[in-house]
């Protein structure tokens, strides 16, 4: 039967070298989709309680989504999953690039690694099968070089897609990720370290098995209609005007419900960096390790990251597999020959405004260095900003920093520091595992300056601007993530068009109202978590989903791809179930949901004295209680109640 999923996963035991295929019953896809959903269920059951994330008991999975290669659009994302060494919680990271069709091309929905190899290996898989091969010659090479060598070796008569780690993952840096397609990263949750600890340098996927949708005609019609929306691209403001738009939004006491079409147009024009100045001006982008504001990084300082200015080196758009939008940018390195990925918004702010670094060239340089090393730019930027503040407060002195004068905006020192982090050299070793680990080693109250949630550095979106970010930073089973929920995401998802029971925010509202904790906010948060699980289970891109549920037919695609007749409400129940399993994963691993905290500073405690987010405080405790009870979890402890589990048909 053609159902778009392959119905099988691959298990690779790195200790023994044994490779087996497991058939997954249809029922599990019905209940969890594939991608993160199926993976959460498998890993919840199979990773023993208390497993060392860097030991043989942890399981590392590479998964595609139900919609991968099924004829839908925006559905080329792949995910990596495992117990996170950075947070000790459920860990996942999401990436575009070209790996996802490779996974299904090899006839499986996911590839899971157990055990630990005593010598470096890589997995080679194609249509026929899979085997482990020696990777001694690749160990020590950077990720982009590794990919090139493996594609040269395997890709002359077939497509070879590679995901691998760089030096950071090999050295088990807890803020390292996994790299694909010339420097796209599944960056978050520190899963590069898990891969490094397993001795797995790369996976090379050369399969060319086709995926068959249940109703290909319907898939095509839906995709053509979706593409009409994507293709709508009227001329838009220039770069400078985005900054003024941001400033205007800061000054108004009211806010307008966002429509994702506007964001789509900007994303298509500049990529994520469209937000660079706008986000600083309106208070979404954190500045100066989250203690500064737009006042500290005004237009004079941010002019080099103006979207027009910043994208000058870009020579072509970059598309993840199956994407009609192409928010990426291929840019020329200063040598005029080498092509590199343009830094994303997150990297630009983390390595820029967060450290008061005005030098746009250094951001390109650091971005490429970190892509090659396979290190998470968000966590690196967060950790550098932390180190600078420690230096400012005297907790780190030139003696500890190997002579580096870590002052705000000192580009040279920042570049040298990041080089050291990649190499784990001197002060770099102290910082290579992120802010929480570094603060614990520095002591002397450094924890106060370590900005993280549950151990993971936060994405570049300020909860004081959009309290939804603050909420999801702590309630998600993977803390510190900016790609799951926010009030602005909720507005853009426009789920109420599909599910009339969900709240439809007013077109204009007072900014003040954002800081109220109530049932409606909780419903918005819960819907984001649930929908995002569906998006990830489908293998879809968040940016596609932000166009709005009436423009990206995710539920209809899923039905046409699988032959199911699920309602939008039914899909959110699946998303809810996945969220509950991830929560149970954490509880089984000894994480008390209530202990996942975020630094007080980012909640406006104490409130900022100036700038866009002046005077605001996020009532996080209250919000979290509402959210948990909205999710059917105990409002005090965050533990899924037995009624909730029964309702979700989760018999454990």
């Amino acid at each position: 039967m053609n159902r778009s999923y392959m119905g099988k996963v691959l298990w690779v035991d790195l200790t023994t070298g044994r490779i087996t295929t497991e058939t997954i019953p249809d029922d599990l896809y019905n209940r969890f989709l594939s991608g993160n959903g199926l993976a959460a269920w498998l890993l919840y059951r199979r990773i023993p309680a208390g497993a060392d994330p860097l030991g043989p008991d942890n399981i590392l999975g590479f998964v595609s989504g139900v919609l991968t290669s099924s004829g839908s659009l925006f559905t080329g994302r792949w995910m990596v999953v495992g117990k996170s060494p950075l947070t000790g919680t459920w860990g996942d990271a999401n990436c575009g690039g070209n790996l996802a069709p490779g996974i299904k091309g090899c006839g499986v929905d996911g590839i899971f690694f157990t055990g630990q190899s005593d010598r470096p290996v890589y997995l080679y898989a194609d249509t026929k099968g899979a085997e482990l091969r020696d990777a001694i010659h690749l160990w020590g090479k950077d990720a982009i070089e590794t990919e090139r060598l493996l594609v040269d070796e395997h890709g002359s008569k077939q497509r070879a897609r590679v995901a691998c780690i760089g030096m950071a993952g090999e050295r088990r840096s807890l803020i390292s990720g996994i790299v694909n397609h010339g420097g796209r990263l599944a960056a978050r949750s520190g899963l590069g370290a898990v891969m490094g600890a397993k001795g797995l340098k790369a996976v090379v996927l050369c399969g060319s098995r086709r995926v068959h949708a249940y109703d290909p005609k319907a898939m095509k019609a839906l995709s053509l209609a979706c593409n009409e929306h994507v293709a709508f691209q009227p001329p838009f403001l220039n770069g400078t005007m985005t900054a003024y738009l941001g400033a205007l939004m800061r000054m108004l006491p009211t806010q307008m419900k966002l429509d994702g079409m506007l964001y789509k147009i900007m994303l298509s024009k500049w990529g994520t960096v469209n937000q660079n100045q706008m986000a600083i001006e309106m208070g979404d982008a954190p500045v100066m390790n989250w203690k500064g504001s737009n006042r500290d990084f005004g237009l004079d300082k941010s002019k080099l990251i103006d979207p027009d200015e910043f994208t000058k080196p870009v020579v072509a758009k970059y598309f993840c597999y199956s994407c009609p939008l192409g928010c990426g940018g291929i840019s020329l390195a200063p040598d005029g020959k080498t092509e590199v990925h343009r830094p994303e918004y997150e990297s630009t702010i983390a390595l820029g405004g967060l450290c008061l670094n005005e030098d746009a060239n250094s951001i390109y340089y650091l971005n490429e260095m970190l892509n090659r090393a396979g290190m998470d730019t968000i966590s690196v930027g967060g950790t550098v900003a932390f180190a600078i503040e420690c230096f400012e407060k005297g907790l780190l002195t030139p003696k500890e920093t190997d002579g580096l004068k870590l002052t705000w905006g000192n580009t040279d020192a920042i570049v040298r520091l990041v080089e050291k982090m990649v190499k784990r050299e001197g002060i770099g070793d102290l910082l290579a595992d992120g802010t929480r680990a570094a603060a614990a080693r520095i002591g002397k109250g450094a924890e106060e300056m370590a900005i993280h949630a549950g151990g993971q550095e936060l994405g570049m979106h300020d909860g004081r601007y959009d309290p939804g970010f603050a909420l999801h930073n702590v309630v998600e089973p993977t803390p510190g993530r900016h790609t799951i929920g926010a009030y602005m995401y909720y507005e853009m998802f426009q789920l109420w068009r599909e599910i009339p029971d969900l709240p439809d925010p007013a077109l204009f509202y007072l900014k003040r109202s954002k800081y109220r904790a109530n049932r409606e906010k909780a419903a918005m948060g819960a819907a984001c978590s649930q929908y995002m699980n569906v998006i990830n289970g489908a293998g879809c891109c968040l940016f596609g989903a932000l166009m709005g549920a009436h423009r990206i037919p995710l539920f209809d695609w899923l039905n046409a791809a699988t032959g199911w007749k699920q309602t939008p409400e039914g899909y959110l129940v699946i998303g809810h179930r996945i969220q509950a399993v991830k929560q149970l994963f954490n509880i089984k691993q000894g994480i008390n949901p209530k202990d996942i905290r975020v630094s007080k500073r980012v909640l406006g405690d104490p409130p900022q004295q100036e700038g866009a987010n002046k005077g605001v405080t996020v009532p996080l405790e209250k919000l979290r209680r509402y959210y948990w009870s909205g999710m059917g979890f105990d409002p005090e402890t965050g533990v899924p109640t037995s009624e909730c589990l029964a309702r979700l048909n989760l018999t454990i």
Binding site: S69, G71, L73, D126, K128, G155, A316, F319, Y321, P324
Partner: protein, 141 residues
């Protein structure tokens, strides 16, 4: 579903060499066999077999196209193409690539048939393009 080889097969192994996924097994001069779990239904074996010995999944005898350069090959319609790379990844022999054109941040890189000699006319690129930007050109290679 898979292709299959009939008893007409004389074991010349031509199909074995063209199969992109090594789904065909057999000793020289003996009847060959297609491993159905591996076969991806590309049809190349049927197009190449000189002895009319390959059947498609419907059980019909495949028609040989004697001159390989006459096998259907993809062409790309830039008016429709959105640059999504689905065709690039769909090609079992990896012969489609994106042009390396350079322009500015709004420049699209279009697919093209980079290794025409490896193309085996399976039409997967055409079948998978969501916006019908690929069509097969049967005239010349």
């Amino acid at each position: 579903m898979a292709y299959s080889i009939t008893h007409e097969c004389i074991g010349c192994s031509v199909c074995m060499r063209v199969c992109p996924v090594d789904a065909i097994i057999g000793k020289p001069k003996e009847r060959h066999r297609i491993v159905s779990e591996i076969c991806i239904d590309c049809g190349a074996c049927g197009r190449i077999c000189p002895h009319a010995s390959v059947k498609n999944p419907k059980g019909e005898l495949c028609e040989r196209i004697r001159i390989r350069s006459r096998w259907p090959k993809p062409k790309f319609d830039h008016q429709r193409c959105m640059g999504c790379t689905i065709c690039v990844e769909a090609c079992p022999t990896g012969c489609i690539d994106l042009k390396t054109d350079r322009g500015n941040r709004e420049t699209l890189r279009y697919p093209f048939l980079k290794k025409a000699r490896n193309c085996m006319g399976c039409t997967f690129c055409m079948l998978e393009c969501p916006v019908d930007a690929v069509y097969m050109d049967q005239r010349v290679g």
